[in-house]
């Protein structure tokens, strides 16, 4: 509180800072309006979000105008932990299916997907037919298709330009179906680490909620931090 008051006295003739935080400045947005510019970090810990990923977004209203992605290094204890649960690629894909369905607001299907994932982890024999039932249910839903269609469509040239795996072709709905297919094939190894530097291009221009759906749909098994800014600067 004292700090806030001191700020007010110093900035009396410049900007107001209620509570010590400066007011948002305006900036032109995609429609030519002047919207307030907010800096909002997404992550590193959010429900249905890849752990450790931080997406620093510059928002105009609720549309992401610019973004920077980074991955926080794991803590000192992480290196010692052996992989107690050796999750296969199928289980990790199902985990991302749960995230995407929960973010799309379909609680019943997300709960069903969670149960199939647990069955797969336990090696239950019924998992395959439950997964097929889930797959049919997801394909039948018109509302889900409406919500996920035309979100971040990636053609083959976009994929090769950004060095992304071919399995991510199409829009978010196609990627959801591809994740379910991958889960159905079982026994696969986890996917290659995803280059985090490709992430900002995918989310710029989308609103906050759509960006979260897109990130959940990318089926991120591991994140490749790539070179940090400091390393890039030292190489330049």
């Amino acid at each position: 509180m004292d700090h806030g008051d001191m700020d007010m006295d110093m900035d009396m003739d410049m900007d107001m800072s209620p509570g010590g935080i400066a007011l948002a400045k305006g900036g032109p947005d995609r429609d030519g309006l002047e919207m307030d510019v907010l800096h909002v970090p997404l992550g590193p810990v959010l429900p249905y979000w890849p752990a450790g990923l931080v997406l620093h977004c510059t928002l105009h209203g609720d549309v992401i105008a610019a973004a920077e992605a980074e991955v926080l290094a794991p803590g000192p204890d992480e290196a010692d932990q052996a992989d107690e649960v050796s999750a296969t690629g199928a289980v990790r894909s199902l985990d991302n299916v749960v995230s995407l369905l929960a973010l799309a607001g379909w609680d019943a299907a997300a709960a069903e997907a969670r149960r199939v994932r647990d069955d797969l982890l336990d090696g239950d024999g019924h998992a395959a037919e439950r997964l097929q039932r889930l797959d049919r249910r997801v394909r039948r839903s018109v509302i889900l298709r409406w919500s996920l269609r035309r979100l971040a469509p990636l053609g083959p040239d976009d994929l090769s330009a950004r060095d992304l795996p071919a399995g991510l072709a199409g829009d978010t709905y196609d990627r959801l179906l591809a994740m379910l297919d991958r889960a159905g094939r079982g026994g696969l190894a986890p996917l290659q680490p995803f280059p985090v530097s490709a992430l900002p291009d995918l989310v710029v221009g989308l609103d906050l909620a759509a960006a979260r759906l897109v990130v959940a749909g990318l089926d991120l098994h591991e994140l490749d931090p790539g070179r940090t800014k400091a390393q890039e600067e030292s190489h330049a």
Binding site: A104, L208, R212, L213
Partner: protein, 319 residues
């Protein structure tokens, strides 16, 4: 032959103290809705036995009452609290015009318009909850609710117009009385469906819960905690119950039915419709607001206008 009492005068206004009974009945319906939602959630998540689901709403309410209140930097406290508490108040005011058999708390000549006014108030309250928190996801959630409102409000208004045209009165008791013989839901199905969608939408429930979505970290309720959160959730359930209760005199024949007295039939019909609306939540994904605007203006609005035309022609032909 004894003179038949005209049914339009069959509804009388009760003394104001009976509004406490109306609040108590609304409270019971809210509990019913919360317990049903808890049971469905528990069953969907694979919990064995019904005990977990039955206990969950009460456990959650107790937890929220004990929880320490969280706040953000520089929230607009007055508007924030007004928004949160306003939902419950709007629901109570809605229920005040619903006749329970032969008695009602407000016997307004324009009861239908009163209900519509209360549901428009919900726009203000939900947006204020989003605004007051001084938080980005919260504000985005508030604006999402306004975008949804643009999609559902006009179809809802036109759906509410259809029963008064047929009954030739805006008084809720008169609309209920005009259904002896044939309930309005039978020959105004489009209006009934659009009305139910409107009720689900202004309760921020089910497929219209984009304003509180998980993809926005909880949207308007992201920064709510403790008692404020409990009041907000109660308000949502109460709006759902009030909307279901209002459908009974409008479309489902009021207290008409064999065997049971009319006040019992009103409660039974309300409970059945409320259970159907509560069951919608988990089964359908959430609609994006821009999609609802498309559907609302291109599909629902023309359909309801055609329905109103049909009703008007029939009413003119009869009268």
């Amino acid at each position: 032959m004894p003179e038949l009492v005209p049914l339009a005068t069959a509804v009388q206004a009760a003394a104001p103290v009976w509004s406490l009974l109306a609040a108590a009945i609304l409270g019971c319906l809210v509990m019913l809705a919360a317990v049903l939602d808890g049971v469905l959630s528990a069953r969907g998540n694979g919990a064995a036995g019904a005990g977990v689901g039955l206990r969950r709403p009460f456990a959650e309410a107790a937890r929220l009452m004990r929880q320490r209140r969280r706040t953000t930097i520089e929230p607009d406290s007055l508007l924030w609290r007004i928004g949160g508490a306003g939902l419950l108040v709007a629901a109570l005011l809605m229920v005040a015009v619903v006749p329970l058999g032969r008695w009602t708390v407000f016997d307004l000549d324009v009861g239908v318009v009163w209900f519509n006014a209360m549901d428009v108030l919900v726009w203000a309250f939900v947006w204020l909850v989003g605004w007051g928190a001084n938080s980005a996801p919260s504000l985005v959630g508030g604006y999402r609710f306004l975008a949804l409102g643009l999609g559902y409000e006009l179809p809802l208004m036109f759906a509410l117009v259809a029963p008064p045209i047929a009954a030739q009165s805006l008084n809720v008791g008169a609309v209920a009385a005009a259904q002896h013989g044939l309930w309005f839901v039978v020959w105004m199905p489009v209006a009934f469906v659009v009305y139910c969608l409107g009720v689900t939408a202004f309760s921020v429930w089910g497929p219209f819960a984009a304003a509180i979505g998980a993809d926005l970290a909880g949207g308007v309720r992201a920064e709510l905690s403790g008692v404020d959160r409990l009041v907000f959730e109660l308000g949502r359930y109460a709006l759902l119950a009030a909307g279901a209760a209002f459908a009974v005199p409008m479309f489902l024949g009021g207290g008409a039915g064999p065997l049971l007295p009319d006040w019992a039939w009103v409660l039974v019909k309300t409970a059945v419709l409320l259970a159907a609306l509560v069951g919608l939540r988990r089964r359908l994904p959430v609609l994006r607001p821009d999609k609802l605007m498309e559907v609302g203006w291109l599909v629902l609005l023309p359909a309801v206008l055609v329905q109103d035309l049909v009703v008007a022609v029939v009413a003119a032909g009869r009268g």
